[in-house]
């Protein structure tokens, strides 16, 4: 029979296998953090600074929300010390991939009850399992900058858990990031108050959290900024304008000149408000968000 001391040694060795890997890798070099979108990458880089190598493996041309990585990329995620998830149903591939639960951090888990629905679910019935619905949750949580700050706090906690010795530095970095995020929130709130419920449009349904947090009266179309809407889509817009006389339309990217002109003829100003789910061509998440708010302010003040 094996005695208590041996058991303790075994337990400790197990602990070493499980938790020690992270500590060893931390001692050997920076933390390896993988994220599912750019906002989380930006937050993690700001919070962990030089102590982490933060990677977003999604190619720059894809929307990380709908990207499906191959096995080789998933293998990279498996090798990370931390995998930062956005939650709210973002990056559905995570639900179909094998990742170590102990390394996953759902950064929005703390405000699950505040998730917003994306659109009406389609309920369907087939087979013996009965009626079920494919519910959709709005996932661009970072567009509510207060929620973004809570996601950043979750990242801070995860980094400190892995690297307790960095607590002070990480906390300091987090406070600076939080300050920036809350400044954005304040600016967006002021814009919401200024808009006073003015009807607005969104080319795509990604701005739910922005609208909810800052009181924007937004209705979403299903238009792509790099495509020309067809006749049916224009008719849909005109029908919507009768009920919702919007004068501003938010776009995820710069729309085509012809589309901008036709919208202008309908009295609608096009405003680019990039959600920056992936790495921007220029600047970083904060600078793009600041530019988004400046453009919106400009459009509202005209």
């Amino acid at each position: 029979m094996i005695g208590g001391q041996t058991t303790r040694r075994l337990n400790l060795s197990l602990l070493a296998v499980l938790w020690g890997a992270a500590a060893v890798s931390a001692a050997a070099g920076p933390l390896r953090i993988h994220t599912v979108n750019y906002p989380l990458q930006y937050f993690a880089e700001r919070i962990a600074g030089p102590h982490a190598e933060v990677v977003l493996p999604a190619p720059p041309e894809v929307d990380p929300a709908f990207w499906l990585p191959d096995a080789a990329v998933i293998n990279q995620y498996q090798g990370a010390d931390l995998v930062l998830l956005n939650g709210a149903g973002y990056a559905r591939w995570v639900g179909k991939a094998t990742l170590a639960r102990s390394r996953l951090v759902d950064t929005s888990a703390g405000f699950r009850k505040d998730y917003l629905a994306a659109e009406t679910a389609v309920t369907h019935t087939h087979g013996p399992s009965g009626e079920h619905a494919h519910t959709a949750t709005a996932f661009a949580t970072w567009l509510d900058f207060s929620l973004a700050a809570r996601q950043a706090a979750a990242i801070r906690d995860a980094v400190v858990r892995l690297q307790p010795r960095l607590r002070e530095e990480v906390e300091e970095n987090f406070v600076a990031l939080e300050r920036d995020l809350l400044a954005l929130a304040q600016q967006a709130k002021a814009l919401g108050l200024y808009a006073k419920g003015m009807p607005m449009l969104a080319s795509h349904s990604v701005y739910q959290y922005l609208a909810e947090a800052y009181g924007l009266n937004l209705r979403s179309m299903h238009w792509e900024f790099d495509q020309t809407p067809d006749g049916e889509q224009w008719a849909e817009l005109e029908a919507l304008l009768r009920r919702h006389p919007a004068r501003i339309m938010l776009w995820e990217g710069a729309p085509q000149a012809g589309v901008v002109a036709r919208l202008q003829s309908l009295g609608i100003r096009s405003v680019v408000f990039e959600p920056v789910a992936n790495r921007p061509g220029r600047g970083d998440w904060l600078s793009v968000m600041r530019a988004n708010l400046v453009r919106l302010e400009d459009a509202l003040s005209r």
């Binding site: 337990n11 602990l15 499980l18 938790w19 499906l68 096995a71 094998t98 102990s102």
Partner: protein, 392 residues
Amino acid sequence: MRDSLYIAWRYVTHNRARTGTLVACVTLIGFLPLALEVLLDESERQLLSRAESTPLVVGAKGSALDLVMNTLYFDDEIPEPISLRAADEVAATGLALPIPVYARFRARSHPIVGTSLDYFAFRGLRIARGRQLALLGEAVIGAVAAERLGLEPGDHLVSSPETVFDLAGVYPLKMHVVGVLARAHSPDDLAVFVDTKTAWVIQGLGHGHQDVTTTRDPSVILARGDGKVVANAKLVQFTEITPDNIDSFHFHGGAEDYPLSAVIAVPDEVRAGTLLRGRYLEQDTPLQILRPRDVIEGLLENIFRIKQVLDAVIGVVGLATLLAIVLVFALSLRLRQREIDTIFKLGCSRGTIAQLLAAEIVIIVGLSAAICLVLLQIVDAYSGGLVRSLFL
């Protein structure tokens, strides 16, 4: 003495049948209890080493032995399911790392073990060929399972239906074998490992099918409208997860309610383990937390009780055999009376005659001991595999 041994040796080799029978009897009397001892020692070692390396198991209240045997050895007896929430609760305490285990299904008689990547690190399992699990529908198989099933990375393995009479049940899932584990000399060698999500697809909790919102086949759609689509059984449900259809696979309901058979809890220190055990002391919790070592020690105590009975039976049989051997010798002395008289008349003393007979016994017992030793060496060499295949 050498002369006596020589004459005795000539005698026993001349009467081969008699000698063979006697040697076999004596060998069996010695070999049986000793071999049983070796096998039981090995069983104890294996059972305890697996139990010792698994600090705590959380599962549904009920048979502790079923829970531990299913979690550690993927035994056929499946404990009452618990939900993934149990793993989340362990994680939320911050006292231990939870590793989900869902060992319910089988593929060609090998257990399918739904778990997370943490399990492989926890057991020190290494991929020998192929790669680690990455996507839904993939499987990594143990070394022995791979050998027996003749599978290599790139092959497929179909899950077995739980019952052939479940005609309305879920379709078997064709899994992609992506890796083969290095031999671990443990029950993991016999298992087929999948992600817990794949195990839930096997159970039918997750599935993939044609897009009911876009299909226009009137023979599939019974009713459509008002955000609701009713399809009939003709709706194609996928039985294999491929890059083309993986996006259509989905789960219904909250993942926290999905079933597991157990959660292995790995505390970060002994004190944390004690504190965690304290959390499950309330009477109203449907969960129990066990130290597999305690359960296995209880099992071993029962095994040793059975062994004592077996030892007694073997003892009685051995005594009876010994008496029979004595009888054989006594009878053979009678049969050899003329031969003994001749030896006596040739001038041998009674002591020499006794020496001759004693030398025969020494040779028979010596031969038996040698054979017994060789057999025990063989049993000892293969005891690990024997115990795994016979008992575990």
